[in-house]
């Protein structure tokens, strides 16, 4: 096994680097005028001139940046506040229980559900409309507001559970519970004690997920198409429109815009990183100053309310979709449909067998590959930790797919797999999914893996166990929870892939998501409801397993239970 491990980082980079370089080149070259298939044979800056002449370009860029930053800051703040205020309580347990269903709802379905909640003709208004006897919704903007606040709300609702999951994985490594107790004993308030002692140990572990949230929020397309303003839209959405323009020459400009998008994301991460350094600097003084902050009732309430709203939006949203899926005619301002019908379910369900099989096979294969590669890379890194820090530099490459709009990436990826003669094969679809799954698996697992107390390994080695035996008997069991969480996250990411499945698979592999997205174009809420619910089921099984298995495995191991 040590021999095989040696190849792990190399293999990972090889599997990722081809598609990545292809994806990048497929964006960079057209941005500078090179795309012979469409008659672009020479380097030119025409695409950039066209881009900067686009009306409202700066507003789009600003919108992407502000909504991305705001959504990340709020999500991070809510999760930290909630953990600080409620760790070790029943409210905390309860939140863990509803986590799986919330995480399983696909982003677009959640966004659609939230849009139906907050629209002027939506569920919330209908409560008042029914009381007040209005039959006509107010003509005001809530969804698609100019500031992008609806988009921020939609993103926060989905990113809070993700960051919460990542934090749960990190807490045991950071020894959060004991640290918290010590702080309490020293007379610190619950929240202040947590922020002063636990946060500094948790943050390094969830930093990468936070960056991923930032990158995702600033470049999201599907959620933005439902909730973001359109006059103008955020940059990523406009890139999608330009790439889909019948005028094929628009693709040059779209590629240039994709590079701007990349710049926006990198800039935001740099900004966040700088802010983090600043906070670390001043926070140290604050922590050392010794303020106990015992009066914290309102802060704790705020943490609970914020978490509740985030969770409630997704749950109510998916409930709304479920109701729509069996609704007959449903007019404003009725709270519930006047008629019910399962006609559409009966029509759709029988045809879904192949979709489900394809979804599970592709997602399963991609996530198994991803977890093996990631664990192997990390294990090798740990074993060589004493002598060198290899591979880390090259491994940064795997985050590139998270930093770029997927749509701009797809063109190069298609050309790459077509060159290899692999396009339209299951292998290529799985490899294409791997490009997007592996980064999430890596960032879910890397920090907890690296944060594992090295003394476990050293002790086991000193007791005479071989490195392999240490890995199987000590390291892996200790990391069961984050490994399973990483698998579940990876699987959910794979289930949600639309463009890679459609374009690399050339339509040969219909999945729940390819059908769902195609049908969503018809804008029938009943169909969107059906597929939104169906798309939620598979990841739910994944997350459910990831949470149940450790609970069963560790029910007799007090030290491995999460809340102890």
């Amino acid at each position: 096994m040590p021999k095989l491990l040696k190849y792990a980082p190399g293999l990972t980079v090889v599997l990722m680097v081809g598609p990545l370089l292809a994806g990048l080149l497929g964006t960079v070259l057209p941005a500078f005028g090179y795309l012979p298939a469409l008659g672009g044979g020479q380097a030119s800056l025409a695409a950039w001139r066209a881009l900067f002449a686009q009306p409202g370009l700066l507003i789009s860029v600003r919108l992407s940046a502000t909504t991305g930053l705001l959504a990340t800051a709020i999500s991070f703040g809510v999760v930290m506040l909630f953990c600080a205020a409620w760790q070790g309580t029943r409210a905390f347990d309860l939140m863990q229980r509803v986590l799986a269903p919330i995480l399983s709802v696909p982003h677009a379905a959640a966004a659609f559900g939230i849009a139906f909640l907050i629209a002027p003709s939506g569920w919330i208004v209908r409560v008042f409309a029914a009381l007040g006897g209005w039959d006509r919704p107010a003509d005001i903007v809530t969804v698609q507001d100019g500031w992008g606040l609806a988009l921020v709300a939609g993103l926060v609702a989905k990113e809070v559970p993700f960051l919460f999951l990542m934090t749960l994985g990190a807490l045991p490594q950071a020894d959060g519970e004991r640290t918290r107790h010590v702080a309490l004993t020293l007379g610190y308030g619950r929240v202040a004690g947590w922020f002063k002692t636990v946060l500094p140990r948790i943050y390094p572990q969830i930093k990468l997920p936070v960056f991923a949230v930032l990158a995702y929020s600033a470049s999201v397309v599907d959620v933005a198409m439902i909730l973001a303003p359109t006059t103008p839209a955020p940059l990523a959405v406009r890139i999608l429109h330009w790439l889909s323009d019948p005028d094929l020459s628009m693709r040059f400009m779209a590629s240039a815009a994709a590079l701007v998008q990349l710049g926006v994301v990198v800039g935001l991460i740099a900004l966040w990183w700088g802010f983090e350094k600043l906070v670390a600097r001043f926070g140290r003084g604050w922590a050392e100053a010794g303020g106990r902050y015992r009066c914290e009732g309102s802060v704790r309430a705020l943490g609970a309310v914020a978490a509740l709203i985030a969770a409630g939006m997704v749950l109510l949203g998916i409930a709304g979709l479920a109701v729509w899926s069996i609704a007959g005619f449903w007019r404003f301002p009725d709270m519930l449909p006047g008629q019910w019908s399962v006609k559409l379910w009966l029509r759709e369900l029988p045809a879904l067998g192949d979709d489900v099989i394809n979804t599970v096979v592709i997602g399963g294969a991609a996530v198994v590959l991803a977890i093996i590669l990631v664990v192997a890379c990390l294990e090798r890194e740990q074993r060589n930790a004493a002598t060198s820090r290899p591979g880390r530099g090259a491994l940064w490459l795997i985050y590139v797919p998270l930093l770029m709009p997927q749509i701009s990436f797809m063109f190069g990826l298609q050309v790459f797999f077509t060159f290899l003669g692999l396009e339209r094969t299951l292998v290529s679809v799985v490899l294409a999914h791997l490009v997007f799954v592996l980064p999430y698996v890596f960032l879910s697992l890397a920090d907890p893996f690296r944060a594992l107390d090295p003394r476990y390994r050293q002790t086991a080695l000193c007791l005479g166990a071989s490195p392999d035996r240490v890995f199987w008997r000590v390291i892996l069991p200790l990391l069961t929870r984050p490994v399973l969480a990483a698998i579940a996250v990876g699987f959910a990411v794979s289930v949600g892939q639309y463009l890679p499945t459609l374009l690399i698979g050339a339509g040969r592999f219909a999945t729940l998501t390819t059908d769902a997205v195609a049908l969503a174009a018809g804008n029938d809420r009943r169909m969107i409801g059906i597929y939104g619910v169906l798309q939620t089921v598979l990841p739910f099984v994944g997350f459910g397993i990831a949470m149940l298995v450790p609970a069963i495995l560790f029910c007799r191991r007090r030290g491995m239970r999460r809340d102890i």
Partner: protein, 411 residues
């Protein structure tokens, strides 16, 4: 030594798995269009991957039916690749051209029209000409329905086969609108007394752009200039009446014109939510179907403008590198047959009007067309009124660009 064996085995497994999963089709010679029997023979056993918008279950069901018929009649397997956007199919073909795939491509047929067709034709991405040599093309009404050979004024040149007629029609909730406005000017006047109760999808969405084209065709001084490329005329002057019209309309739109629905289908949901009173679509049958489907209240009815509304044709085309060209040609021909066209026009199935000439098809088939029950909310082809021709695509590009400048950035 054992290590080497292990490596060889791994390589062999990897290679075998590639072979096993690889389904790349071999080159398919261009079918000999002069010899239909040879085309049929070549088509037999082929699988046609048809890239088609998949947003409407009724349409997907129709395509599945056509696939079953093709299997029975000609031994051709048809698989629909459901798309959210036709641009994805175009993108696929472009990426294959970039990778040098001159045959054995992934896309065998695309449901297409308008700007997408113009772009693919211009970039040499289509196979053909082949349409006029197919047996059923002789039934197509190329005189009475000139859009069957001129796609948004661009000559189809035998590169795409017509398979359905579309005409812009409006719909209103008769419980809320007493007398529907029957012209662009009347719509504006109605909006002045009912502010916020109408909108159009945001251009460059197909339906939103179509609405602008409808208005343009009505308010322009001389509609004939729109049939020629925009470069030939003083575009600013031609478009001026459109901008005057929109300057009055924009502040009266739903959400004061600060937000727009994403696409035409969204208008139906907005009707049910009582957000708007008047919507529009390219398929009059859609209204009856949507009522049956619980998407619209049963008080909704279709209407058209007195001066006529825009009409166009949707087509199927075959990419230059398709793997099953013969199969695709036979499928396209079947789609133009009276049997397939009749089923397509049946509102219980789809409700898309036929491209065929009722005087050319066999009398028995004609009787079946006459006997179709079109449903309560659907206008018959005779009541659809005058069909206005689509402007040349260059006008649309101009209008979309200028619209983006004027209204794409909220003040």
């Amino acid at each position: 030594m054992p290590r080497l064996t292990a490596r060889l085995m791994a390589a062999a497994i990897f290679g075998a798995s590639l072979m096993g999963f690889s389904s790349l089709a071999s080159a398919d010679p261009a079918p000999d269009m002069q010899n239909w029997d040879a085309v049929l023979k070549q088509a037999k056993g082929q699988t046609v991957y048809w890239y088609a918008w998949g947003g409407e279950p009724r349409i997907n069901d129709y395509i599945a039916w056509a696939g079953n018929q093709m299997q029975e009649k000609y031994g051709v397997t048809v698989k629909q690749v459901k798309l959210a956007d036709t641009a994805d199919a175009v993108s696929k073909v472009v990426s294959e051209k970039a990778a040098g795939v001159a045959d054995g491509g992934a896309v065998d047929m695309i449901w297409i029209n308008g700007e997408n067709f113009a772009a693919m034709k211009r970039n040499g991405l289509l196979f053909g000409p082949w349409v006029e040599q197919t047996p059923h093309f002789k039934y197509v009404d190329v005189i009475g329905k000139p859009t069957t050979i001129n796609d948004f004024t661009v000559p189809t040149a035998g590169l795409e086969a017509p398979w359905g007629m579309a005409q812009l029609s409006f719909f209103d909730d008769t419980s809320r609108v007493k007398t529907p406005p029957r012209s662009a000017q009347a719509l504006l006047a109605w909006l002045q007394t009912h502010p916020g109760r109408f909108t159009y999808p945001q251009p460059p969405d197909y339906m939103g752009s179509s609405f602008l084209k409808q208005v343009l065709t009505e308010v322009v001084d001389d509609p004939a200039v729109l049939q020629k490329p925009a470069g030939d005329a003083d575009a600013q002057k031609v478009l001026a009446p459109l901008w005057t019209y929109l300057a009055k309309m924009q502040p009266l739109l739903w959400r004061d014109g600060n937000a727009y629905p994403a696409n035409g289908a969204a208008l139906r949901a907005m009707m049910a939510d009582n957000e708007i009173d008047i919507g529009f679509s390219f398929s009059a049958a859609e209204v009856s179907a949507a009522i049956a489907n619980f998407e619209l209240p049963d008080s909704v009815r279709s209407f058209v403008f007195d001066g006529g509304t825009l009409g166009n044709t949707s087509f199927v085309a075959i990419p230059f590198n398709a793997s099953a060209k013969a199969g695709a040609v036979v499928l396209a021909d079947f789609l133009m047959s009276p049997q397939a066209q009749l089923r397509k026009q049946d509102p219980k199935i789809w409700g898309s009007f036929t491209v065929l000439d009722m005087d050319k098809i066999p009398p028995a088939d004609r009787e079946k067309f006459d006997a179709l029950d079109l449903g309560v909310a659907t206008l018959s082809p005779a009541d659809m009124g005058k069909v206005l021709p689509e402007p040349h695509p260059s006008w649309m590009e101009l209008v979309e660009r200028e619209w983006q400048k004027r209204y794409g950035v909220a003040p």
